[in-house]
């Protein structure tokens, strides 16, 4: 039976045969088919419809007094909302943005100067920085301090000192009216 196989592969020096073509075509169709069949498996691990449906959070800002911060949950992560004092705003604006590790102006990080909205997750390795409560350390720049590896954030949530590579992320948000904001 070995001869049958070698005959079918064509005499020596004859080059490609019909059998070779069929082999390549079958392999290609099989590979593409398998890849397509794998997609539903992979995609099933992406966020499901009910998870996507929870991708925005509405917050009432009226109870937050000047100088206070609250933490809300958005997509399972903490979001810091700080009602900044005039002094905090001034501190944030006074810093020379171009000299920072992740240069960004405070004006580009807020929609209304008194309301700072941040995803409260350290950009280093995902811990939650301290500084929301008055009793907690706020770091050298009066903003937030991450206890895991010592990153200091300023009153605009920008990284000033420590291993974190980037500023705290500003999520997408819109003011529905003066006292209500929708995050996401």
């Amino acid at each position: 039976m070995a001869d049958t196989a070698s005959h079918a592969h064509g005499a020596p020096g004859q080059g490609e045969t019909r059998r070779d073509f069929l082999l390549y075509a079958t392999t290609a169709v099989g590979a593409v088919g398998t890849a397509i069949a794998l997609w539903p498996f992979i995609h099933s691990m992406n966020p499901a419809a009910d998870v996507l449906a929870l991708s925005s959070t509405e917050v009432d800002l009226s109870p937050i007094a000047e100088g206070q911060s609250i933490t809300v949950t958005w997509r399972g992560k903490p979001v810091f909302i700080r009602h900044r004092t005039a002094r905090e705003i001034e501190e944030a604006r006074a810093a020379d943005a171009s000299g920072l590790p992740d240069p960004q102006k405070d004006e580009d990080r807020v929609q209304k100067a008194e309301w700072l909205v941040l995803v409260g997750v350290c950009t280093h390795l995902g811990c939650i920085p301290l500084g929301q409560k008055t009793s907690e350390p706020k770091g050298d720049y009066n903003g937030w301090f991450c206890p895991c590896h010592g990153s200091h954030y300023d009153t605009s949530g920008r990284i000033r000192k420590g291993p974190a590579p980037a500023n705290l992320v500003v999520p997408e948000y819109t003011f529905l009216d003066d006292n209500r904001v929708r995050i996401g």
Binding site: A5, W39, F41, S44, M45, D50
Partner: protein, 413 residues
Amino acid sequence: MSGHTFQNKAIRWIDERMPIFTVMQHSAIDYPTPKNLNYWWNFGSLALFVLVIMLMTGIFLAMSYTPHVDYAFTSVERIMRDVNYGWLLRYLHMNGASMFFIVVYIHIFRGLYYGSYKAPRELLWWLGIVILLVMMATAFMGYVLPWGQMSFWGATVITNLFSAIPLVGEDIVTWLWGGFSVDNPTLNRFFALHYLLPFVLVAVVFLHLWALHTTKSGNPLGIDVKGPQDTIPFHPYYTIKDLFGVGVFLLFYLFFVFYAPNFFGEPDNYIPANPLVTPPHIVPEWYFLPFYAILRAVPDKLGGVVLMFGSILILFALPWLDRSRVRSARFRPIYKQVFWLFLIDCIVLGYIGAKPPEGAFITIGRIATAYYFAHFLIVMPLLGRLEKPRPVPQSISAPVLKPAAATAQMEKV
């Protein structure tokens, strides 16, 4: 193992340290396979294919499933509605269970027809029965997981089978439940075991294949391979034939997945489990129906359970109950007919299993049950003595290569 020399240096490097490529070369490429296998020999590899699909879909389903009485049903509905392609994974898994049994039952009846259980393949046959038993346990526990009415009452009825055991029955059932009724602990452990058993299945399938590759595949003539002229290498001849079988099978399987996904299921299982109300007519999944019929045929609790388990366990003794030295039914004129009678008997049992236990159904169920056991305990041993088999060919090649000579030989035999 005679080492194979590979061209590729990296492959050779690995193979010299662990001959995995040599083993693959021997068992999946060079493996000498009888050249006369018909399409009934496709179902073994097909069963392995279904097992892989069940493992894949099952692992991904488990990522979205919650084994808790309060969340199980809704988590399955969430899979159906919210999880990306969750409906596809679930329908593949659900129908895959039915496909697995269809393929395996055909594989078993192939073995019965062609005498695949006879020496030297008794151990291979036994491992196959173990696979069937593990499959049944896995399927049963999987059916409980959606926590619908049929799940709950199926679990209650099947676990109660063990209460028939004298003296310790009740204690065993309490132990199985982890409580005093089917409840959260039961669901939790069933999920754990439903996840575990398929891997046990993979291990037993490996042993099944090991035994197969030791005794080599049988063939429709039921005679031994006489030499290399009777075999062809597994690859490409049977790889391509198995692949073609997979293609045809997928058409059948996916027809149900896409066009009749609940064909094999019970509508009652879309009602959340209610421990206070039993559905008016409870039936197991179709693949358990013949055994369910045997269970109900006996008007005694313990007797029914013993016969039901006995109906599968008796298969272990088959290699010694069948005394005929001819393997293939092709050369056994009476067994050939008895085989079909037995197949019909199994289908009748399946039909009776789906019917309520009343009137004529009870009588028919009892006759069919009696015949089921008579087939193994009376018919098979008797046939071995009384039946005069037709002459078998000299070799697999003989009738093809030298028709005249072979016929002459056959007449002498």
